[in-house]
Symmetry: C2
Subunit: 317 residues, 2 copies
């Protein structure tokens, strides 16, 4: 099969072996996949991953033990867990120390004709949702994870920093709480997507000076942390959604003095993401910058890395 | 009056002007005061403070508008706030941006014959508590602040790192929750104080490998953060109680991947600290390493800076 592989360099493999689903797993024919910042970071060395990239997808189940799933259109949670260790039994399977993660850690990903995932990870997609919306379920779930972790009250002042793909999803999700939200970014055309939905979105240097109860760093770079930190009220919460290669110098004493809470936030729940998309409460299709066939995967990656680009999709079947 | 002053160097001033209480404030004759790690950090440049040091004290009210307070033995909350700004009105006066802090920021401290504090900051000390216990109310309140911020459940595994003054108070307070607590330190004689109270206290390199739901860093130095971070379970909480001069390199991406919560924690509530001491639920007197008269304040500071020393007190009147 065809696969977009990273093994020190990114390349399109033509005769990559088609995966064989072990017991409990399903073979999925991939229809559409999305390039995430994490994919771009992996190509820069993040996680040290080698293999087929990609973890945002929608596809059709081709083979699996549960016949009711065969032929169904699905999206899939990306963390594959053992289900038996203390972490899994404590209800945190996405943190299973034995986990593999689709296209990120120990498991080939979605930029290929086929992928395999445990049946338990799959969610069927309602007919009303087209592929272009369904492919956003995984990053939208990651945005919703913030609300699993932090109680964002309707009376709170909230700042989202970053107008990239994740920032625009996070802003839309937090806007649904009724909170006093302002988004800071660097691209007028991206901020305009939020303004069209009634969200106060401004160039970062035009943000009001008033500090916020909750600040979410979706900038994807180390400098974003410092900027976000400066916007949090004493006793406020700074949510970290960015992953990148390398360390950041942090003044921990000032976190103590201001009693700031930092919350790292990663993968989130798929079911509510599907509900929000089905109810039309989040707009994802205006986030699509371009769609390329898998055969033009290298060009797609080049496009995705360009400043100002939002979501680049790979049309696979 | 006499005062232990830091103005680039530490010195005992003999003719320091006695403070005059403005409206709303009380003049307190200091009886006994405690040297805190923050005092030692200030002498190394932390906060850039200059003036009379000291913020842990017990004293007697000599002058104030409320006659019922005159002659009463008191301890005092150290943050003096405006009461009118949005932060104060939001119920976080210890974070008032206009605050002064006794012996730390913009206000002379307790290592002197007299201090002034707003009447609203004073708590009368029950007769059953002697001065040697009452002088620990301020650091014990800081230990209790953790429980104001983080729900420590009885079933949780908790690690306290650091067997200094604050570490021993934090360990005792957290032990009262019934949680599965282990304390890591570097001084057998300090750990023994906790063991006598039934707390599992070990040398840091003999801590069990099992990770914890909550880890509290009371080490007081940058390396403590890295050690503490390595002991937190995914989705666990790392409480920062240490303040020190300088920054620390932090891998923020790994906080995201493991969805760790960092909580900065500073000053806490006095009333529950007084209750715990009155009920004999926390032992503080075994934490006293030495007591010096104020006139020997410089020697007291030298002693307090020696490795292995716990609380050094200054007997003032």
């Amino acid at each position: 099969m065809r696969a977009l592989v990273y093994d020190g360099q990114l390349r399109l493999a033509e005769g990559y072996p088609r995966p064989e689903p072990p017991p409990g797993e399903a073979l999925v024919r991939v229809k559409l996949a999305g390039i995430c910042n994490t994919d771009l970071e992996i190509v820069r060395g993040y996680m040290g991953f080698q293999g087929v990239l990609g973890h945002e997808f929608v596809g059709v189940v081709e083979e699996c033990a549960d016949e009711s799933l065969v032929g169904r259109r699905v999206v899939g949670e990306i963390n594959c867990y053992c289900g038996e260790c203390p972490t899994c039994r404590a209800g945190a399977p996405t943190h299973c120390p034995h986990r593999t993660t689709l296209g990120i850690w120990g498991r080939d990903g979605a930029f290929a004709d086929y992928l395999i995932l445990p049946m338990a990870n799959l969610h069927t997609v309602p007919q009303a949702l087209n592929d272009e919306a369904a492919v956003f379920v995984e990053p939208l779930a990651a945005a919703l994870e913030i609300l699993e972790q932090v109680q964002v009250k309707p009376t709170m002042r909230v700042v989202v920093l970053g107008d990239g793909k994740l920032g625009l999803l996070v802003a839309q999700v937090l806007g649904l709480t009724g909170c006093d939200l302002v988004v800071g970014g660097h691209h007028e055309e991206k901020l305009a997507i939020l303004r069209q939905r009634g969200i106060d979105a401004r160039l970062a240097d035009e943000l009001p000076p008033e500090k916020a109860d909750v600040v979410v760093d979706c900038t994807g770079h180390p400098g974003g942390f410092t900027a976000a930190r400066g916007m949090v009220k004493p006793r406020g919460t700074l949510v970290l959604k960015s992953t990148f290669h390398g360390d950041v110098e942090v003044n921990l004493s000032m976190l103590v003095v201001d009693e700031i809470t930092l919350v790292g936030s990663r993968c989130g729940p798929f079911a509510p993401a599907l509900r929000l998309l089905e109810d039309g409460l989040v707009d994802v299709e205006s986030l699509i910058s371009a769609t390329y066939p898998l055969d033009e995967g290298l060009t797609a990656f080049e496009q995705a890395q360009k400043k100002g680009t939002l979501k680049v999709l790979l049309k696979i079947q």
